[in-house]
């Protein structure tokens, strides 16, 4: 039985550890600390936790000021409000002066589920990726999420970490080595490469098993650093397998699919398919039902890969 854990829970655990070893770490939240799991930090280090209330602009602006005097602030809220409501503060007050702020945004993508389209951010990777100086992380499971948070705290500069609400399979072992900017080949293959990010990595792995049974040799790559993206591993895959499918819980415009396409087109053009949210808003439903309806399924990955291989 695969262990299941939400990446936001790993974030809470990581913060708890970090708070102990680094006194410069402070955490800010906008009235969602129970959901984002920053409450785990609040309970341990209440003097270094600050609730700004339901005020995301203030959240990011205050974080910028804290970083300007040497603190390492983690600012958390839902991905929708972090990157949407506060976009321009992130751009002008955090990224332009390259301040050391970490934005850990939870409830990203469609899997926020029942709350519906207003809360389902399918644009956050695109928004964050387009801002100069920003590093964008999208961990695949709880192990990688925890390591991402710790590595982000050691990196000097703004980092956006995309985290999810739902429990997802734990793919990596504790000895998994996460490095910012490094993609990881998690399954070898020759006929086609599936490049996935975030919670879709486990589905990409499942899809590869289905395809292998049909005699298709599938490489699976986890790209958890959306920016700066690991060009080498993508170009190598394009050269060796000739065909690429990207998979993300995000609009197919502007996120992983676009980032991979940019690398491939400029270096080694091959046929590609992007699996993701097809430029539409989501809707209410359980996380699984929403993923199913909007095509973020093993079946859809398999179909796209199969079609591409037959071309």
């Amino acid at each position: 039985m695969t262990k299941m854990m939400a990446t936001r829970d790993a974030y809470g655990e990581a913060l708890k550890e970090l708070g102990k070893i680094n006194k410069d770490i402070v955490v800010l939240d906008a009235d969602l600390s129970g959901s984002t799991k920053t409450a785990v930090f609040k309970n341990e280090y209440p003097e270094r936790f600050f609730n700004v209330g339901i005020a995301e602009q203030s959240l990011m602006g205050t974080a910028a000021g804290l970083a300007a005097v040497g603190k390492i602030p983690f600012a958390s809220t839902f991905a929708m409000f972090a990157t949407g409501r506060a976009f321009e503060i992130i751009r002008n007050s955090i990224c332009y002066p390259k301040l050391n702020v970490k934005i850990a945004a939870t409830h990203a993508g469609l899997t926020v589920g029942e709350d519906g389209a207003t809360h389902q951010s399918v644009e956050d990777l695109s928004l964050m990726r387009s801002v100069p100086n920003m590093t964008v992380l999208c961990p695949a499971d709880a192990v990688e999420a925890k390591k991402s948070v710790i590595k982000a705290s050691q990196y000097e500069g703004p980092v956006y970490i995309r985290l999810g609400r739902s429990k997802v399979p734990v793919i990596f072992n504790e000895d998994y080595d996460f490095e910012i900017g490094k993609g990881v080949e998690i399954k070898a293959g020759e006929d086609i490469t599936i490049i996935a990010t975030g919670i879709m990595v486990s589905k990409a792995l499942e899809a590869s098993e289905v395809l292998e049974k049909e005699g298709i040799s599938v490489r699976v790559i986890n790209i958890s650093t959306i920016k700066p993206i690991d060009e080498d591993i993508i170009i190598k895959a394009a050269k060796e397998t000739k065909k690429i499918v990207t998979v993300e819980e995000h609009n197919i415009i502007g996120g992983l699919g676009s980032a991979v396409a940019e690398v491939i087109v400029e270096n080694n053009p091959v046929l590609m398919k992007r699996v993701g949210v097809e430029d539409t808003f989501g809707e209410s439903g359980t996380a699984d039902d929403v993923l199913q309806k909007y095509g973020l399924t093993v079946e859809n990955i398999v179909n796209n890969a199969r079609e591409l291989v037959s071309k």
Binding site: G53, S58, G61, G65, L66, V69, I89, S93
Partner: protein, 272 residues
């Protein structure tokens, strides 16, 4: 007081000269804040131009970032960088960007320019000071048009909630913004009562009278448990007769002839 009046006058001369040279920038809201910046940089703030990153220094955040010329004039006068640098305002490859850039200009404590954001950043700096038991003060200058931004009121709530009595904010209340008078565009009054209701200590002064500025800062430093806002009634374009209280001089640089007329009034000389 003559000493400070002299410095404020020098800042005005430098503002006009740099704007004429760059042919771009915001004179009105720079000239209205000359006494405030003179008071801060030449009397009140505990700073060291030779060591701009000294961690115990007082901080200043120019939230109304388009007032950059008065900040640059004050920093140059204080010795953070050579005065000749002022000639490069808004030019390509210059350290003096159109709006303040903390990573490019020595002495600039926060990158600002998009209105409202500086006050939230000042909150973060003041909060860090509290957290580290530091004695430094954080000063910020906001504009009255800027007070229409939602983030100003988010930040106002925050500063009072976290009892940031090490934060002293000036409101440069000249009554004008790009499109006209505050009261015609979007009334902010009664702005003093608004801040009071948000939990701030509020002091109202004439923003061109040094004695009132100094007294207000002294009073603010004694306040415990709440942030202070000093509502400084000012005249946009102060010191240059044809610019005073004229909304048209919000974001327009003077021509050579206009700058020469300003120099006559201020007792300065335009460079060739």
């Amino acid at each position: 007081m003559d000493k400070y009046k002299d410095i404020a006058n020098k800042l005005r001369i430098d503002i006009i000269k740099m704007l004429e040279e760059s042919k771009s920038g915001h004179p009105g809201g720079s000239l209205s804040a000359c006494e405030i910046l003179t008071a801060l940089y030449f009397k009140e703030m505990n700073i060291d131009p030779a060591n701009p990153h000294w961690e115990d220094r007082d901080r200043f955040v120019l939230s109304k970032g388009h007032g950059a010329p008065v900040l640059y004039a004050a920093l140059a006068e204080k010795g953070y960088f050579p005065k000749e640098e002022l000639n490069n305002l808004r030019k390509i490859d210059s350290m003096l960007q159109g709006h303040p850039d903390m990573k490019g200009t020595p002495g600039v404590d926060m990158t600002t320019g998009s209105l409202g954001q500086g006050l939230a950043a000042a909150n973060g700096m003041a909060l860090a000071g509290k957290l580290d038991n530091k004695d430094y003060k954080v000063y910020a200058l906001i504009g009255d048009g800027e007070a229409q931004e939602g983030i100003i009121w988010e930040a106002a709530m925050f500063a009072a909630h976290y009892k940031l009595d090490n934060l002293i904010v000036f409101l440069d209340h000249n009554g004008l913004q790009i499109d006209g008078k505050n009261e015609d565009i979007m009334n902010i009054e009664p702005v003093d009562e608004k801040f009071k209701a948000f939990g701030w200590h509020v002091i109202s002064i004439d923003g061109h009278a040094f004695e009132e500025i100094f007294n207000a800062i002294d009073e603010a430093k004694k306040v415990e448990g709440k942030p202070t806002i000093i509502i400084a009634k000012t005249i946009k374009g102060k010191g240059v007769s044809y610019m005073e209280d004229q909304v048209g001089w919000h974001g327009k640089a003077p021509s050579k002839e206009e700058a020469e007329k300003a120099m006559e009034e201020l007792g300065g000389v335009l460079d060739d």
